[in-house]
């Protein structure tokens, strides 16, 4: 929908009359140039260029000598606009009727139905009158042309038409007709059609999943607690289902067409839906949904643990569960509570809290928040408790109910100095302010949340604290529930990771091996992804990430951003698409960190830009190209060996991402202790001067590569020098009369290599520092670089400062 808006906006900016013209044209099934002219004539003051503006715009799906067709989504949107302007609707209908008087009758019928629907005057009787002969014809001889027309025409019709029972019969007849082409094979009626075993599942957030893969393994899906069931659909082309939900005026209906083998996801936002097949069999499909509260008490019962599950008001024998370890608590609760519950209290026995691993607990909380609309951890302990850790790692939809002095004390200690007010109290406002700087943490501190060391022992404080937190929690939950935000691990943690890489359609094997697990890992960990909608890495990442987020029941529009140059066609229309110039800083600012994969030059520039504005960068050297250049590890340039290796790399990447999320520094490009390295080109006659200069550079923390120091062990000295220049952060050329007096010589080759290297690097920082040590004229080849005269006072210091200012050139090594 974003793309439609953007396309309309682009055209409107160029020529507002073209939008009016497109609106009038949206009533027609096909728009010939002649009809376009007639419609344009209805718009006063418009010029013929308006026709061309629309014709050439991206609102048009296809165009040719016979006419053009609008993009279906655009047509639907413009029809809504046309509906709100009845005089324009009438004028357009009259012009279209006039122009299309002699064309195919089905097209005229389709346009007439659309016109009536937009006028709000369509009913089943009228549809039956217009469509019954067509349905009868398709039923009679399986007319392929009419069947094709029906499938196309009615998928984009206004909903008043699509939802009609008459259209359902038309689609049924067409789907059957399209299944078997030979009349002798064609069954008489849908009841005799072969069937396909189809799995239906209503997942979280009311997403209907339909899987009709012919080779689906039933046994896998019927094991344990899975929420699936099966029906047999008539094997038509396409397969079709009618799904409806709600009742009365709120009843909605959708017809779904899909092909065998597809796994189809359809968001319906309903907990109960009714399904009708083409054979007219109806089913009621419900999501396993527990509407009540659950309380979970975990107690140690040597040598095992007892999990008490209380469902609303009763305790059933199977709810008393014994698990062998704390790690099994989560799965036990999940399998017992089911897909979803309203509120879940998790109460670990006090003795357990002294020994429970915070990481396990946090992991449990994250997973449990998938099933509970409200998740409340009851902390009942006087033991030291990592309050800050709990807050900082909290997932959305989770709160702590603190009981016990030690815990209260730990809250004060945790936020001392950061969330205290002038009275030395830690207040809700202070905590919110502290967390307000972070987008990934929700704070459930109520208005009465006031904790101070002096007030810790006052009994009245704690109920206030608890009630306040509870109130806030409920409010937050309700709001989030309305917004459809998932209280689950699939929910967005608020952090965007920029992924940049090769912009060619053909990815190398190394790049391809890394992109998929990385996309899945980022989605699973709750991150958002920012890409630039280039082919290659961006596109693959967007496609896989969107698919994974959808599988997890997350919101793709929220978690995937694509910043596309307006001149591009975004290859994957997923997530939220922002129009932006290719060199814009906007995505770099929106992203909290960047991962570079491969790249053929553009990635290097983009990553360098990111580094300049302070976005932490992780290049994956194994993917080669720019990423190897950026990482400069030099160790693993042979690519990714296999899928297992790719997973290990992704594991390392995700560790880095997690470190960034926690704010561990230094996160940017400069590994501690890595000094910038300079290569020095000089004439041997100037050795003494050069040695004196380099010793001062070394004293200033600069790593100097000097041939006379390095070459003693190098047999292949020429190759070693060339390699050193390529690896150097900077090159110093000591310009002197002695150097220039050598018309030819090895220094020329060194200089040429350095100049070549300089050409390949971004121009935002110098690569070569010419240094003058006598009154030799400047070297012409180096005229673009700023020269330093170390004979003048402060000249050498300026050189040192410049090298330090630009610093280490290579990016942070993975």
């Amino acid at each position: 929908m974003i793309a439609v808006d953007a396309a309309l906006e682009r055209l409107g900016a160029r020529n507002p009359y073209a939008i009016d013209l497109a609106t009038l044209a949206s009533l027609a099934v096909q728009v010939e140039p002649e009809l376009l002219r007639d419609l344009r004539m209805l718009i006063p003051d418009s010029d013929p260029g308006t026709e061309s503006d629309l014709w050439l715009s991206d609102l048009v799906d296809s165009k040719g000598a016979l006419g053009m067709e609008l993009v279906p989504e655009v047509r639907t949107r413009l029809q809504q606009r046309l509906r709100s302007d009845p005089p324009a609707l009438e004028r357009a209908a009259a012009a279209i009727r006039r122009a299309h008087a002699g064309i195919s009758e089905v097209v005229r019928i389709e346009e007439e139905i659309t016109f009536s629907a937009l006028k709000g005057e369509i009913d089943d009787d009228q549809l039956a009158r217009l469509l019954a002969p067509i349905i009868a014809r398709i039923d009679d001889d399986g007319h392929a042309g009419l069947a094709r027309w029906a499938m196309r025409a009615f998928s984009d019709m206004p909903s008043a038409v699509r939802d009609s029972n008459v259209v359902w019969h038309l689609l049924r007849a067409s789907a059957v007709a399209r299944t078997l082409s030979s009349p002798s094979e064609r069954p008489r009626g849908v009841q005799q059609m072969p069937r396909i075993h189809t799995r239906l599942q209503l997942r979280e957030h009311g997403v209907l999943e339909i899987d009709s893969a012919p080779d689906i393994d039933v046994s896998n899906h019927l094991r344990g607690e899975c929420l699936v069931d099966w029906i047999d659909l008539p094997l038509t082309n396409p397969l079709m289902l009618e799904v409806s939900w709600g009742r009365g005026a709120k009843r909605k209906m959708q017809r779904i067409a899909f092909t065998p083998g597809d796994v189809y996801h359809q968001p319906l936002a309903a907990d109960v839906v009714y399904v009708r097949t083409l054979a007219n069999d109806s089913y009621r499909l419900a999501r396993r949904y527990t509407s009540g509260d659950w309380a979970v008490l975990v107690e140690p019962t040597s040598p095992e643990f007892t999990v008490w599950l209380v469902d609303d008001a009763r305790i059933a024998p199977e709810r008393l569960l014994v698990v062998p370890s704390l790690e099994d608590v989560l799965s036990t609760v999940r399998s017992s509570v089911g897909q979803r519950c309203r509120r879940l209290y998790l109460h670990y026995a006090p003795s357990l809290l002294n020994e429970i691993d915070t990481h396990i607990l946090m992991s449990d909380l994250r997973d449990l928040s998938r099933i509970a609309t409200e998740l409340i951890l009851v902390v009942d302990t006087n033991a030291p408790f990592p309050a800050r850790t709990m807050f900082e790692r909290s997932v959305r939809g989770f709160t702590l109910i603190a009981i016990g002095d030690r815990f209260t004390r730990s809250i004060v200690a945790a936020f001392r100095g950061e969330a205290q007010n002038t009275d030395g109290e830690v207040t809700a406002e202070g905590v919110k302010r502290y967390f307000g700087q972070r987008s990934d943490v929700s704070v459930y501190a109520g208005a009465n949340f006031v904790v101070s060391e002096s007030s810790m022992d006052e009994e009245r404080r704690e109920p206030e604290l608890l009630e306040g937190m509870m109130m806030t929690l409920r409010r937050t939950k309700r709001r989030a529930a309305i917004e459809g935000a998932a209280f689950s691990a699939a929910s967005f943690n608020g952090i965007f990771v920029i992924v940049a890489g090769t912009g060619d359609e053909e990815l190398s094997e190394s790049e391809a091996l890394v992109v998929e697990p990385l996309a899945v890992a980022l989605a699973d960990a709750g991150y958002g992804v920012i890409g630039s909608a280039w082919p290659g890495v961006d596109t693959e990442m967007a496609r896989i990430f969107a698919r994974r987020v959808r599988e997890l029941g997350g919101n793709v529009e929220e978690r995937l951003r694509q910043y596309a140059d307006s001149s591009f066609v975004t290859p994957v229309e997923e997530g939220t698409i922002f129009e932006s110039a290719d060199d814009t800083e906007e995505p770099l600012i929106a992203g909290s960190m960047m991962i570079a994969i491969g790249g053929r030059g553009g990635t290097y520039k983009y990553a360098t830009h990111a580094r300049e504005i302070g976005t932490p960068l992780l290049a994956i050297p194994e993917t080669g190209g720019d990423a190897a250049e950026l990482a400069d590890s030099g160790s693993e340039r042979n690519g990714v060996r296999d899928a297992q290796h790719a997973k290990e790399i992704v594991g390392r990447v995700m560790e880095w991402v997690e470190r960034q999320r926690r704010g561990e520094k230094p996160q940017a490009s400069e590994p501690a202790g890595r000094a910038p390295m300079v290569f020095v080109i000089y004439a041997s006659e100037d050795s003494d001067r050069v040695m004196a200069m380099t010793s001062r550079l070394k004293a200033a923390g600069i790593d100097v590569w000097l041939d006379r120091e390095q070459l003693v062990t190098e047999a292949r000295w020429e190759g070693a020098i060339m390699d050193a220049i390529r690896r150097a952060d900077y090159v110093i050329v000591v310009n002197s009369k002695a150097l220039q007096s050598r018309g030819v010589g090895f220094f020329r080759r060194e200089l040429n290599v350095a100049l070549d290297r300089g050409q390949q690097l971004p121009t935002n920082r110098p690569f070569i520092f010419p240094v003058r040590i006598d009154d030799a004229p400047p070297l012409e080849e180096l005229s673009q670089w700023q020269a330093f005269d170390i004979d003048v006072e402060g000249g050498e210091q300026q050189l040192i400062e410049s090298i330090h200012r630009y610093g280490y050139r290579r990016e942070f090594s993975a």
Binding site: P33, A132, L222, V272, R287, A295, R314, H347
Partner: protein
């Protein structure tokens, strides 16, 4: 625990239920008293099953169909996730369908007759506009008597017969039609204009060349397989371009001002007046080109007077 928050009753509740082993109703009351839940809503019979039931059989006796079913709260544990609620295998076609006559086969055939095209220029003015645009001055009018008398008065000998200036279409016109993709929509309009010009000037006086983007890249007759470098017509013959000057084209598909200027210089050197009909509004014309070419809005509102004004800019008063 001496002090309690609301939710901390959960643990106590679990313990009390375990100790007392109450029936479900009593348990509900305890829970309500402890503030865990507001009241019990379900009975033990609603206990969910941990293992899903076997696949429903389609032939299960039908329940109320969806349209008529009264919607209830989603069951806490749906005993069947997918309940067959009706089977309509025996249902026959609805009456409106069973009585319908099949659509006539001949009506299913695709028909795309050529639609009439409303011309861009008003049909009642087009001849006047076109003849105005392509008319050029020639000294072929009546005898210029004042000038002849003046010669005689000076006692000079007549070396030539001085004639008055008159507008003529005798020189004909070279019509240059832009066939770039951005002009594809106007192809039929260009043909129409060509026919109208031929009606005004006669077929032999209208030389038609087609080009794409800018004539400097080459031009040819419509039937030519290959285009040749553009050559202007003989001196004094007007050139009428039908082009959008690249306004509708993508950035890298349009000719640069430099290329257009080269073309303009070529026609200017050949002494050929240059006019261009452009379908876009004047505010979108490239300003650099608008200064060097006389551009005429190719628009229904174009009047004879406006055409005359434009023509004067090219040929002089």
């Amino acid at each position: 625990m001496e002090r309690r928050g609301v939710s901390s009753q959960a643990g106590d509740y679990v313990r009390s239920v375990r100790e007392l082993d109450p029936d479900p109703q009593e348990a509900a009351q305890i829970a309500a008293m402890l503030g865990i839940v507001r009241g019990a809503r379900r009975t033990a019979a609603s206990a969910r099953r941990l293992v899903p039931p076997p696949r429903p059989v389609i032939d299960t006796p039908p329940r109320t169909p969806p349209d008529g079913e009264s919607e209830t709260e989603p069951a806490a544990f749906a005993p069947f996730l997918l309940d067959p609620i009706s089977s309509a295998r025996a249902k026959s076609s609805p009456p409106w369908l069973s009585t319908a006559t099949p659509f006539p086969i001949e009506s299913t055939r695709y028909r795309a007759p050529k639609l009439p095209l409303e011309p861009i220029l008003a049909a009642n003015k087009v001849r006047a506009i076109l003849s105005t645009l392509v008319s050029m001055w020639v000294g072929e009018g009546g005898v210029d008597l004042p000038r002849m008398i003046s010669v005689m008065a000076r006692g000079e000998q007549f070396t030539q017969l001085h004639r008055l200036r008159t507008l003529t279409v005798r020189r004909g016109v070279q019509l240059l039609i832009d066939t770039a993709p951005s002009m594809s929509l106007f192809r039929r309009d260009a043909l129409w204009l060509r026919r109208e010009l031929q009606k005004v000037l006669s077929e032999s006086k209208v030389g038609v060349r087609v080009f794409a983007r800018c004539p400097i890249f080459g031009a040819g007759r419509p039937a030519d397989d290959a285009w040749k470098p553009f050559r202007p017509p003989s001196a004094g013959t007007p050139i009428l371009l039908i082009t959008d000057l690249g306004i509708g084209a993508e950035r890298d598909e349009k000719a640069t001002p430099k290329e257009w200027n080269a073309f303009i210089d070529l026609t200017s050197a050949a002494g050929c007046p240059l006019l261009a009909l452009n379908p876009y509004a004047p505010h979108r014309w490239p300003p650099d080109l608008a200064r060097r070419i006389t551009i005429i809005p190719w628009h229904r509102a174009l009047s004879v007077q406006a055409a005359r004004k434009a023509a004067r800019r090219v040929r002089g008063r």
